[in-house]
Amino acid sequence: MKSSRAYLNRIFEFVIEKAIFLAGILSIVFVFLIFLFLIKEGFSLFRTYSIFSFLFGTKWYPISSPPQFGIVPLLLGSVAVTLGAILIAVPLGIGSAIYIAEIAPRWLREILKATVEFLAAIPSIVLGFIGLVTLAPLVKKLFHLPTGLTALSGSIMLAFMAMPTIVSMMEDAFTAVPKSYREGALALGATRWEMIRRVLLPASASGMLAAIMLGIGRVIGETMAVLMITGNAARIPTGLTQPVRTMTATIAAEMGEAVQGGNHYFALFAIGIVLFIITFLINVTASFLVRSQRK
């Protein structure tokens, strides 16, 4: 009786263990399969279209004959919007995270944290719609532009979306700094600001960088809001107050039209590979930075 019970238990243990193992490696399998599919579809483009003209071409005319699939304008469009968003979100994010982690009283801290996290829960299409109606006219008026649908409008909108990631990650990094550091600094006669600037920020530098990297990852992959608000003109941007077309918006806007198995369809997947590689590198850098802080 007793031995059969133990036996059953062992089988049970075995099954559960394997099931959990399977669940654990599933995400790896998924990422691998997705990447494989991307490679397969994207590289089909290069059988008939040179990879050089894809990566360095400056014209995106996918439905002309012959089509031109130069992604430089799209890549630079994404870079412009992302750069703008990070320039806005990082200073705001650092300030907000310092306030939440170090200065705010306990009750306010909880409210602020919940609110910042709530910001992340707003669907991007809603933010995009609000931006289209309120932000674009404002940008147009402030800078005397012919249109408000510019990289700058997209950057401001995306800064809002990157803020939750940046703030909560940075706040984690600040809280991870041992209390003894702060107490030591204050005991030596440092003011609160001196303590933050000389002790807290250097001690959490890599965590802060990781937060910024993840913010960039969030921004560069965002689609709907930029599609609605950046004007989508596929030209090489020379400033933030011009319309730009990002890689994500291009995929979203054109996938309906692309004939399955056609070169245009493959080109959109090739853009997908470029995006995948960029976000992959960003995420790897970020997790490397996080680990280096823990040590």
Binding site: P146, M228, N232, A253, E257
Partner: protein, 301 residues
């Protein structure tokens, strides 16, 4: 540290809860949808041209009022989306504001599918500018030069000294393709003219109207159904000998307005059953009356 450990647990629970909810809500609906499609064959999917989506919706509502047992679902996404859907078999009727492209014809042939075109209405494409813009007449050639970026300032065509802001529809739009071939390339589908790189690609006709309303520098094109009195419609002529015409009912039906196109229903093979009775309804006087009510142009007077 305690907080950091709690979060993943919370996340896992949220995930489990979310998946359960998802399964509860969607799976029965899917099963139901599938079985009803199999047994009754009464939900018709109509998909395609954004220009036609309101028109299709109006037809569908009236048709469903007359035939309560049939359900029609109308969605947009662009003519290309509709054509892709009918080739993939995910819709019953594709609404399209353009003919099939060569690539689409080839992929239909490869899939051994015959696409039938039925013209259901006319659409005139209106060229629109800001109400304060002094320019009110343009030839097709001038329009082509504006949209390809050869003419860059309004003062080159009798307007103010102001750089032109060119607004186009996104490439998945049938209006985009029609305008490209009939205006920019002057009717030669094999032409190499292109929209200027600086042209803004707008996701919908509504967004073009909105942008033209607020920008004095803007010029854009939309189906006549989208024209409001807060924007100004340009009179267009085939060439400089005129006549310069607005996209009115008469001018389009007489074939005099230069930028007009037929709106099409695409079906797989000869249509039967509910699909056929819906198309018959659309072509009937009652159906064509709806065309007129939505500011499109009926097939005949």
């Amino acid at each position: 540290m305690e907080r950091m450990q709690k979060q993943p647990v919370f996340f896992v629970w949220a995930l489990i809860l979310g998946l359960t909810l998802w399964a509860l809500i969607f799976c029965p609906a899917q099963i139901q949808a599938r079985s009803s499609a199999k047994h009754k064959c009464q939900t018709l999917q109509i998909k395609g041209s954004d220009t036609m989506v309101n028109l299709g919706q109006a037809w569908a509502e009236e048709f469903m009022r007359l035939h309560p047992t049939v359900h029609l679902a109308v969605t947009g996404g662009g003519s290309g989306t509709g054509i892709a859907a009918i080739l993939a078999g995910t819709c019953d009727i594709a609404q399209s504001s353009r003919d099939l492209s060569q690539e689409e014809q080839e992929s239909a042939k490869a899939a051994n599918k015959i696409i039938m075109e039925t013209p259901v209405a006319w659409d005139g494409i209106a060229v629109v500018v800001h109400t304060a813009n002094p320019v009110s007449e343009l030839t097709v050639k001038q329009l082509a030069d504006i949209f390809t970026g050869t003419i860059q300032n309004w003062n080159e065509i009798g307007g103010n000294d102001l750089p032109i802001l060119v607004l186009s529809r996104e490439r998945n739009s049938g209006t985009h393709v029609f305008f490209l071939e009939h205006v920019l390339r002057g009717g030669n589908a094999k032409g190499t003219e292109e929209f200027a790189q600086t042209a803004l690609m707008m996701p919908s006709s509504q967004s073009i109207v909105q942008e033209v309303e607020t920008s004095e520098a803007a010029i854009g094109y939309v189906g006549v159904g989208y024209v409001t009195n807060r924007i100004k419609t340009i009179r267009v002529a085939r060439d400089h000998n005129g006549p310069y015409l607005l996209p009115t009912l008469d001018a389009i039906q007489a074939g005099e307005y230069p930028i007009a196109r037929p709106l099409l229903f695409l079906t797989l093979g000869e249509s039967q059953g509910d699909i056929k009775s819906f198309i018959d309804f659309v072509l009937s006087p009652a159906g064509q009356e709806i065309v007129k009510a939505l500011d499109f142009v009926p097939l005949e007077k």
